[in-house]
Point group: C2
Chain length 647, copies 2
Amino acid sequence: MKTDIVINDQFWKRYTDLIRKEMIPYQWDVLHDQAGISIDKERDDQSIPSEKSNAIENLKIAAGKKEGNHYGWLFQDSDVYKWLESAANSYKLTPDESLLNMMDELVLLIEEAQEDDGYLSTYYQIERPDLRFRRLFESHELYCAGHLIEASVAHYKATGSKRLIHVSEKFVECIQTHFGPEAGKINGADGHQEIELALIKLYEVTGEESYVDLSSWFLTIRGQDPDFYTKQLIENKKKGLSTGEIPSINLKYHQAHKPVLKQEEAVGHAVRLVYMAAAMAEVAAIHKDQKMFKAARKIWDNIVKKRLYITGGIGSTVHGEAFTFDYDLPNDTMYCETCASIGLLFFAKAMMKNHVDVDYAEIMEKTLYNTIISGMALDGKHFFYVNPLEVDPESSRKNPGKSHVKATRPSWFGCACCPPNVARTLTSLNQYITDVVDNNLYIHLYQNFEGSFELERQSVSINMTTDLPYDGKTKLTVYGVQKPFNLRLRMPSWSSNIECKTKDLNFEEINGYLSVTIDSDKTIEIDFKLPVIEWISNPLVKNNLNKVAVQRGPFVYCLEEADNGAHLHLLSVTQKGVPENKSDSTLGKFIALKAKAERKIIDKSWQNNLYQSDAVDKIEETEVTFIPYHLWANRSLGEMRVWVNKK
Amino acid sequence: MKTDIVINDQFWKRYTDLIRKEMIPYQWDVLHDQAGISIDKERDDQSIPSEKSNAIENLKIAAGKKEGNHYGWLFQDSDVYKWLESAANSYKLTPDESLLNMMDELVLLIEEAQEDDGYLSTYYQIERPDLRFRRLFESHELYCAGHLIEASVAHYKATGSKRLIHVSEKFVECIQTHFGPEAGKINGADGHQEIELALIKLYEVTGEESYVDLSSWFLTIRGQDPDFYTKQLIENKKKGLSTGEIPSINLKYHQAHKPVLKQEEAVGHAVRLVYMAAAMAEVAAIHKDQKMFKAARKIWDNIVKKRLYITGGIGSTVHGEAFTFDYDLPNDTMYCETCASIGLLFFAKAMMKNHVDVDYAEIMEKTLYNTIISGMALDGKHFFYVNPLEVDPESSRKNPGKSHVKATRPSWFGCACCPPNVARTLTSLNQYITDVVDNNLYIHLYQNFEGSFELERQSVSINMTTDLPYDGKTKLTVYGVQKPFNLRLRMPSWSSNIECKTKDLNFEEINGYLSVTIDSDKTIEIDFKLPVIEWISNPLVKNNLNKVAVQRGPFVYCLEEADNGAHLHLLSVTQKGVPENKSDSTLGKFIALKAKAERKIIDKSWQNNLYQSDAVDKIEETEVTFIPYHLWANRSLGEMRVWVNKK
């Protein structure tokens, strides 16, 4: 099935332009240690390496072009691969010779750094070749391989060059030599899932089925022997390759506590979990494996029904960047890593390959329009790792339990997984908009695009123009239609009323989509009503009691100190907000929501008192301004909150 | 001034009996590794030593009576000293030959373990004699010396034996040889304050003024050179005594960021802060040092007006067991260490030596009747280190950010500072009840006691009988009066109306006390009204908005799942509670409070939904039962909360 979509949407063009013009050159400089910035530790932990990136330098040393030691995390290479993937994606959208030259330079360096046997992981090449594939719980060797493979696929799709695909194939051959069920091979998977997803992508461009089999095997072997990682460490010690105490390994953190088919909850490190679950869904779709799909669906349901923030964030704790338990969704200590929401987007997309359901599309949209783009500043050079729902800068600074909850986006992180992940994701946005299944063309996301789609017996084109995400007027022009097919338009949860202005169309509701048979070229005009929605939480979510989260269209909103003064917790909304067009030199054009509210007054009686038994609540009437969540922290340092008291 | 008070109060007798009959023998067994218990880590941290106590064993090894290595924290010795102090206090209350024998056995062991030059710290003696006094930021050598000294003073007061006083004097001599302003001596203080307090106690029984001077010098030298601790480490490295990276030292944690006279806020490790501040107040009182007193008062005000939990707990974060910032009082992630409230009690008592004020007495009472006794279970064999204001056992188990918030009291801790600290404090309760200043006899705490007091020109006796802490009827019989003196009775904040049934007494209010001149033997009958008080928090305390904390008499109350079912956050009190006499085989006799309330209903619409936009609040009327906070977690595992929603 070939689909070709060109997005020409003002909302998204802002981001892809920023990525092309600012972020990609900036990240190139950072990876080359030429950006002149200071790097933040992602949380208050002395052990986080934050003096420099050294990512390119590590590759040069591994390639024998420089002398020196490896610096940074064991997965520092992946920053380079993700940059390359985003550069390739961006090049595909807007070709640019200087970008091609930069990519060529990197491809050559990667070729030079690769060992003759295909192996490539700069830490182990430079520092501990004797420990290759021997510390899989933390080594990230296959994780980095995965990102290399994903970069090679993007590079090939953008440039037609197979140079990097060859590097990937050679690396996979090396992995196939060392891993597998056969005697003498390593019978376990990387501690950080990612290769599983990447192998599917490599299969998609090469048609090599053994890559799917390897992906499937990595998924299946996971958690079969809970002692696998520890046994590796014991073996290393026996062989004299390591000294010191053998660390106790948290198996749930790695989702290695039981076989994936038996896992029923989203546990452990959130990014690992969703990367794994996405791969499960991908393999299930290719192998038409219902068991695997059902296992993935169990994890999906657990996330969406019990462990998902309203912003599309996941991961309730900084400890292990992990899930905790059902309904445990603290707003001020959570993690909600940008990468985790990106992984959730992958998961949703992959689930859709098994079965199209509006639930998946809803989550794709939720992550994209909220937490994923919240991950980058509007200058393209500052990034969030953690995307909180409630911030008080003083608390972030002075309560060490919130050192990970940054109140402004840093320039870079010791662990810099998120910034290039946002870049590669937003530059490949076109893959999330539609799906073709049999004779059905699904529209998941509403934005301005042109696309051509290969249906069962024909190719049709669509041009969509829409005022979304801000207003509901939407026009689809379908052309090139020769035979009947079903156009299926998502019914977004945020629209109270979908009015079709084009007459004589017989819509039928299927899995949350409006399905209509199209048998000739046609223009369809639809108007989505976009009311202001006030969400309330399941009462089991302790922190959201008597609060609402406000949404309009795909955007979840928040209050910022810049608009509403300090002490946001003293405000209670008394009426639903009213949309108001806004334009701001920093934020650009957007729609704010103005709402009537009450503010609790701190009168003088409190000046020297922590507690009083006879104080009377004093309240003043006021008005508050909500802005879309993804825009927060682009003006001044201040408080922010998504869940707001409701009277 | 000599005061002799015998407490014969049912409420307190329960605790002192438990300590004598259960806790002291139990702790003896634990310290001898004979209790057959498993020891809990105080939080989820692999590095916490929890296999055994080994505290006695360490002393035996240091004494050369056993072979082996030191085990446990650097301050493991202090557990033994605190046990000895509590045993001595208890022996003074109720002499008992077998306890005397146990103490004798320990005194001998301590004498044997002490080096010829007076030094005593088993870790350094056994493992690193070359590092004596060379790692003061963490060594706890003087901290342990302090607890040894406090034990020796208690032992002397209880038995009249000076054997342990001699050990202390010899150790202090050793310290005086090594520490001081003179060239060649160590010009800094222990990372954990405690010796400062202990030296005052040693001075009180020996009259040796150089001990006060040394205490004062340790206080004054603190924070003068912020690099002092690091310089020690650099020196060690230069001398080849240590290898590896020099850790970065958090000076605020140690209150060593600036000289104590310049400190204006309560920062860092909470126990260290209050031990330090208590010593400042003690030294200020002896030296009549107004500067020092004012500095202590600044710290006091900051705690009481901005950083104190309603239960008398202090320390808002597990990270460094520390204070955070003004009004940051989270109820579910706080620390509120038992030892910190004990230290706050010491601080209040010491402040009173400078200037009697009802504020200090209020805090003494608040800590004693709430967080300090919450630190022990009613079986005398289980203890809280952390005293939360809101607990959900699932959260403690599954959210690693709350691993320190235990929902039941463990048998013992890797760091076992709290259990013997409670024991030594409650066995010396009689020192907190009254004060004599000039010709004024102050009654701070109301309980059943008999005491004789040396006033300016006479000795008078008092017998107090009271229904407090449960009911207000109180009778003071004063006898032996030959000349006029002022009796000053605290006006407790929790009594709305203090009715004196004895006529013809002219009361005058002074600093929160009712002062009356007594010139002959007299019986005074007073009735304190004990209304149910609903406290509300300063609105800047984010987590307490729209909540109340309930108090009656000195007791702060809480809701427990055992009485009110799960999901306490769904309950809102609608009316003030009504006292109800209760008796329970586990909790004993106490007064509960029954209050009308509403419960939010989780209806079926929530079964598979995290968020809804059109759900309607459903409420049922109900009744809740509050119990005194200190009794919580003595029945079944379950939720607890102090701050309760108020409609």
